[in-house]
Symmetry: C2
Subunit: 216 residues, 2 copies
DNA sequence: CAGCTATTGATATATTTTTCACAATAATTC
DNA sequence: GAATTATTGTGAAAAATATATCAATAGCTG
């Protein structure tokens, strides 16, 4: 099947948009509504849907509830996914404390660090020594991990994660991680994002307006 | 000129990679070195460079120092850029405390919130009432702002930012912000990123390995 | 310093992604 | 219930992006 990462990212956005539309009282939506809410074209929405065999009613649009369910199913979001964090510093703590993931079916179950002053093994979401990472991940069948350690440690820690059986890594360290073939890595590089904004704000300042609105 | 956002993002990555290569003692690099470090092809590197008129020596590659300087120049990074944050909660605080931006020419100069218990006007990086946002931004000529308020407040706050003259917004709220034509918005949606990982880890589990390594 | 070799830079080719266009058709109107 | 209309679903076209190719050439070798 032809389907790429961008398309999946959009599916997630459609799901978010649907949540908001539903809150506004929408029972059915047209591709155009979703397009507006997600900032894409209606063709794009329909194309994405056709790629996954999502169908609506000609002239009747899509039923919000059915659509959400179908997208959640595709994204594997009808079950709760357990996620761990390595590196409980600024970013790691912010994520650990964030309540918003749970409603989306994502549960942070544990944090790991090498700094003993960070350990809090008794809390509902325990912070444990890195030594215990492998056994924890194996016995709890964790597949997704967030990497939030300093850049110098990032490569080393990513290897520990992969060795323990982690298959998806969300990396905050400002280096480009290269994983094994069956490991998916998503790099969040905030400095690069800011640099990008700076660039486009600068060129817009100097010359023609850039008209750019982007994401990911 | 034909140049897109992805290309600028790669330029930033090349710059990061160069920093690391330089630390390893590299004085000159070939497109292949950079390609490896940044996780792209060497054609891609040369194509990107040619877009910006960056030239090297046939058979001699590129001099690291010159290259870094040239890229910094293109990205507008030879001066320090001032950035403000609105919403000093989990994420806002993590960013405020992060020391890594400064070395990259990005300085967080102030934070803003509506919760009086957050105010800290006396600190080197003050946390001020949102009321003071506009005058601060105007008098300090701030062009870039980070938005880290709850989703329900995000749209409203983005309008305040734009009205005050902010031209680039890094948005952490899980909604797709739509800006004015001359405002660049970069949306960081961590839940979407995690959902994406979950999806690809799931499909890899079920069928063929996905072989996906991606970013932004 | 002539010949050889590796690398750039530019052009051509391939691939991916998005948009367009429109027939099929379900809802609505008269 | 026939005519009208709005919207989907999809194949085709276009645009954007990435890769491959290769002549030109700077540096190296002997
Ligand atoms: N904080 C931010 O706003 C921000 C912004 C951009 C990028 N980043 C990146 O995110 C990462 C984390 O940043 P931070 O500000 O949270 O850093 P931090 O220094 O606050 O926290 C890092 C944590 O990782 C732990 N750690 C160090 N080595 C470890 C190892 N080998 N195994 C396990 N834990 C280890 C430390 O004990 C510490 O608790 C860094 O790579 C940073 O460059 C952070
Ligand atoms: N913390 C995370 O790990 C995380 C993860 C994903 C997404 N996010 C998103 O990032 C945003 C911030 O998350 P957080 O965890 O830091 O939230 P938070 O609740 O910890 O902090 C939000 C801050 O914004 C302030 N605020 C609220 N309304 C405001 C307004 N109108 N003007 C100015 N300030 C206002 C609050 O006083 C608070 O200090 C949210 O949209 C959240 O969905 C956060």
């Amino acid at each position: 099947m032809v389907m790429n990462r961008k398309c999946i990212l959009r599916l997630s956005r459609y799901k978010n948009a649907l949540k908001r539309l539903k809150a506004l009282g929408f029972v059915k939506v047209f591709s155009g509504n979703l397009a507006d809410a997600a900032g894409v074209t209606s063709s794009q929405v329909r194309k994405d849907f056709s790629l996954f065999g999502i169908t609506g009613n000609r002239r009747g649009g899509y039923k919000v509830d059915e659509l959400v369910l179908r997208i959640r199913e595709i994204l594997g979001k009808n079950e709760i996914h357990k996620v761990v964090i390595i590196g409980i510093g600024n970013i790691g703590n912010a994520l650990l404390r964030y309540k918003g993931f749970e409603t989306g079916g994502i549960r942070i179950v544990a944090g790991f660090d090498i700094d003993p002053s960070r350990y809090q093994p008794e809390r509902p979401v325990p912070i444990l020594p890195l030594d215990e990472f492998r056994s924890y991940v194996e016995s709890n069948e964790i597949k997704i991990g967030i990497l939030a350690v300093p850049d110098v440690a990032a490569h080393h820690v990513s290897e520990i994660m992969i060795a323990a059986g982690i298959k998806g890594i969300l990396n905050f360290a400002p280096i480009q991680l290269r994983g094994a073939d069956d490991v998916v890595i998503s790099n969040i590089n905030l400095e690069v994002e800011l640099e990008n904004l700076i660039y486009f704000v600068n060129v817009a300042d100097k010359s023609v307006p850039a008209l750019v609105t982007e994401d990911d």
